[in-house]
């Protein structure tokens, strides 16, 4: 057996008008953890889709355990032991955990042909225990959090005896503790001789687990290095072709009047007596574990969900917000965390998506849209946010994850709001573009806007907010000034003072 499980030589992939990959060669050793880094749209996801047979390369050769292979679909790659876990999990929420794990490979009682639930449940349980997860495999998958569902997918791969697991941004919707568990389990996979390709924009994770790191820029491989040769600065330099000056730039605005005042907000079972003030020229960061109620709070304030009681004042005036429409009318903007489900209309193009909320302002005679104005504004926004490729009529489904996020941001910039709520604004965005987003938030604040940032990345919350509010189980459990807080204090408030075990909500 050769040292390499998989060898790719000169892989090219062209989409009409875009060359996503040019002459990429890469070897994956048996049982290594190989990280892929690159900016948004660099071609990482396209690369792994070729590995798994979702796309076929235009050029190049792929060797699996020494033999030339070509995958026409994911079944073919799977049969050779290659599987991918995507950011959008492919768990069926209405099936049980065990059923999910054995989906497509159900065990039957010999001679009868009926499903052997006892055996499947037992093996599923064993596989999960191996990952250090002790859950009831007969419950439906929907009862478990994203972190658990991901473990269920890994267990599914284990049961199938795969040799290579590809993870495309697996941690972008996990809480800190869930990330730790995942990283630990990736090590376990390695010990079993399973190779892992790991894609993430969080370089600290990459540096923590990778054996080797490959950097891709504009569809070309820049280089592969051993972990020992790599550090964060070097990876960033290779990724973006320059060094980053400042990771967390700060705004210059002075704190002004109260823009948003929330008092005693309640929503049964989800929000408990929430009160806070947000000033003009201020950024408040909301920290907390996934499921702490931050998104619920944002949705409630924005009128996306009904509240049971509570008062909301905007610029000193009490307002009734019954729908997002009311909220926008009062100058609010809400960037949702789930860009595919709630942010974008994937089948429509960049123009449509980025002008959806602000469409009224392009109208002549009250109703008719001035296309020239729309196109000019969209062009401007695409330049400002560095959306790539800068093709206004590109269907947003075809954009890379990070660029989709930028389109959602564009949508809210276009709406001329005064109070912005950003829910995980940099999810899936590369390091360079993150700084662009921070600059953008700062610009809004400098121009007098008030901003709330919800983020599960502690360094980010601490780096860009003036004040940090911590939530836990639907309550605000801590308030800190960014100047004097430590990560430990925030974590303590987020877990209610107790060191919670990794448990599901």
């Amino acid at each position: 057996m050769s040292e390499y499980f998989l060898s790719l030589k000169g892989i090219c992939k062209r989409f009409p008008g875009v060359s996503a990959l040019t002459d990429v060669s890469l070897d994956i050793k048996n049982g290594e953890i190989h990280a892929l880094c690159g900016e948004n749209g660099a071609g990482k996801s396209t690369f792994i889709k070729i590995l798994t047979g979702v796309y076929q390369s235009n050029d190049g050769e792929m060797l699996c355990e020494g033999k030339v292979v070509r995958f026409n679909n994911t079944q073919e790659s799977f049969s050779l032991g290659i599987t991918a876990i995507y950011q959008e999990l492919s768990i069926l929420p209405n099936l049980t955990v065990a059923e999910n794990i054995f989906l497509g490979r159900e065990l039957r009682i010999p001679g009868f042909g009926l499903l052997d639930y006892r055996k499947m449940n037992h093996l599923a349980k064993t596989a999960l225990l191996e990952l250090g997860i002790d859950i009831d495999v007969t419950k439906t998958a929907s009862e478990y959090t994203m972190g658990y569902q991901q473990m269920i997918e890994i267990a599914r791969a284990l049961i199938a005896n795969v040799k290579l697991i590809i993870m495309d941004e697996p941690t972008s919707s996990l809480s800190g503790r869930e990330v730790d568990v995942l990283l630990k389990n990736i090590h376990k996979l390695k010990e079993k001789g399973i190779a892992v390709i790991y894609i993430s924009h969080r370089l600290e994770e990459v540096l923590a687990i990778a054996d080797r790191i490959t950097v891709i820029r504009d569809g070309c491989k820049i280089g592969t290095m051993e972990r020992s040769e790599a550090d964060e600065e070097k990876i960033i330099r290779l990724m973006v072709g320059r060094t980053l000056e400042e990771k967390f730039p700060r705004h210059q605005a002075q704190k002004g009047d109260i823009a948003l005042r929330v008092r005693n907000l309640n929503q049964r079972g989800r929000l408990n007596d929430i009160s806070f003030d947000l000033h003009k020229g201020e950024v408040i960061g909301f920290a907390g574990l996934v499921g702490a109620g931050r998104t619920e709070l944002a949705r409630a304030v924005f009128g996306a969900d009904k509240i049971d009681s509570g008062i909301i004042e905007i610029f000193g005036k009490q307002v009734k917000i019954n729908s997002p429409k009311d909220a926008i009318h009062h100058g609010m903007a809400f960037l949702t965390e789930d860009r595919k489900g709630q942010g974008l209309i994937l089948m429509h193009d960049i123009i449509v998506n980025s002008t959806l909320t602000g469409l009224k302002k392009f109208c002549k005679f009250g109703y008719f849209i001035d296309q020239k104005m729309v196109v000019a504004e969209v062009d401007e926004m695409m330049r400002e946010l560095q959306i790539h490729p800068a093709i206004p009529k590109m269907t947003t489904r075809l954009l890379s994850g990070g660029n989709q996020q930028k389109v959602v941001i564009a949508k809210w910039l276009c709406s001329k709001a005064k109070i912005f709520i950003f829910d995980e604004p940099t999810r899936g965005i590369d390091v360079g573009a993150k700084v662009e987003v921070y600059n953008l938030i700062n610009r809004l604040v400098n121009e007098g806007a008030a901003v709330i940032v919800i983020s599960s990345e502690l360094p980010e919350v601490m780096g860009i907010s003036d004040r940090i509010l911590v939530m836990n189980s639907g309550k605000i459990t801590g308030e800190f000034s960014c100047l004097e807080v430590t990560p430990e204090e925030i974590l303590k408030a987020a877990t209610g003072g107790i060191n919670h075990e990794y448990k599901h909500a």
Binding site: F15, G17, M347, H348, V352, T357, F368, I391
Partner: protein, 333 residues
């Protein structure tokens, strides 16, 4: 901008991709031309002025109803009540004008008004009563309106309309039927409405992703109510043309018209999943159906066989569309 063809992939790229895009946009038009060519060879009468105008006239009613249906389909909905709305609105016009002797203007107002009202009710039931799918609200209205049409007429037709009411359905300007001119004007208006007004864009947005649309501050309920009201209005307008053509309003008019309208939209490239479909595609879809019926008539194919043929065409048209989408999803440039 024309987002009604959202799948833009080769962006001024190579000539090959531009050509491919053109084919994609023109898919159903090429179908229509191909069909016409075949019929031209098969029947010498097909390409005469008389026959073409005949087709134009015959397609008018379905075209008018289909454009209303398109709005519902764009929002990932459906309107099953159009045939019944057509019947009820026209027999009410008959009662007002013929039986009660009121002015034709009032009659037309009653006809269109009932169309809008029933459509509006469809929308209200869907949104305010939160019925789970427009299939249900419009299925209900379909039965109620048909039943009422039979009751108010005691199941017998109403004839002898004044010529002013027959104008839309029966008159010609030169060789061109007024009904076809009406179709062109209406379609041009819908093109502008869907592409260049906020409500039009919101209709596409609602069908594409209702949750994202709602969170963008758009009242989905309002959009849906407008959509079904317009669909009702177009059904009544189709009825007005029908009354003109046959000089009679009858309670069983428009039976099954909803399916022709749906077929026109689908053949024209609209997606049942919502968010995709164009005004001109729908017109071509409606023309394909009319040309097909006309051609089969010219070739003296029996009515029964014609029904079979239409069924096959619907399935083929959608299948070709599916293939095109598949090809787009796994481009091997």
């Amino acid at each position: 901008m024309n987002t009604s063809t959202p799948e833009v992939q080769g962006h001024g790229g190579t000539q090959k991709t531009q050509f491919r895009q053109l084919i994609k946009k023109m898919g159903s038009l090429i179908g229509l031309i191909g069909l016409s060519l075949v019929l031209t060879f098969a029947s010498p009468y097909f390409l005469t002025m008389d026959n073409i105008m005949n087709v134009a006239r015959q397609s008018a009613i379905n075209s008018l109803i289909a454009i209303g249906m398109l709005l519902a389909i764009l929002t990932a909905g459906i309107d099953l009540s159009v045939g019944s709305i057509l019947a009820l609105s026209t027999v009410m016009m008959g009662i007002v004008v013929v039986k009660m002797g009121m002015s034709p203007i009032i009659g037309v107002g009653v006809c269109l008004g009932i169309g809008i009202l029933l459509g509006w009710l469809n929308g209200m039931m869907l949104t305010k009563m939160s019925l789970p799918h427009p299939f249900i609200s419009t299925l209900g209205t379909m039965n109620v309106a048909r039943g009422l049409a039979l009751i108010v007429t005691a199941a017998s037709p109403i004839s002898n309309f004044p010529t002013s009411i027959q104008f839309l359905g029966a008159a010609f300007i030169g060789p061109i039927p007024v009904s076809f001119i009406l179709v062109l004007v209406v379609y041009a208006a819908f093109h502008v409405f869907l592409n260049y007004t906020t409500v039009g864009r919101y209709i596409y947005a609602v069908g594409g992703n209702p949750e994202a649309t709602r969170l963008s501050g758009i009242s989905i309920d309002k959009v849906l109510i407008i959509v079904y009201a317009i669909s009702g209005l177009m059904a009544a307008l189709g009825g007005l043309v029908l009354v003109g053509r046959v000089n009679s309003a009858y309670p069983l008019a428009g039976l099954g018209y909803e399916f022709d309208a749906i077929a026109a939209c689908i053949i024209g490239g609209a997606s049942f999943m919502g968010g995709e479909g164009t005004v001109w595609g729908t017109l071509i879809g409606s023309m394909i159906m009319a040309v097909l019926r006309n051609g089969l008539n010219l070739l003296s194919v029996s009515a029964e066989m014609q029904t079979v043929a239409i069924g096959i065409v619907i399935i083929l048209a959608v299948y070709i569309d599916v293939l095109r989408h598949k090809a787009a999803a796994r481009v091997k440039a």
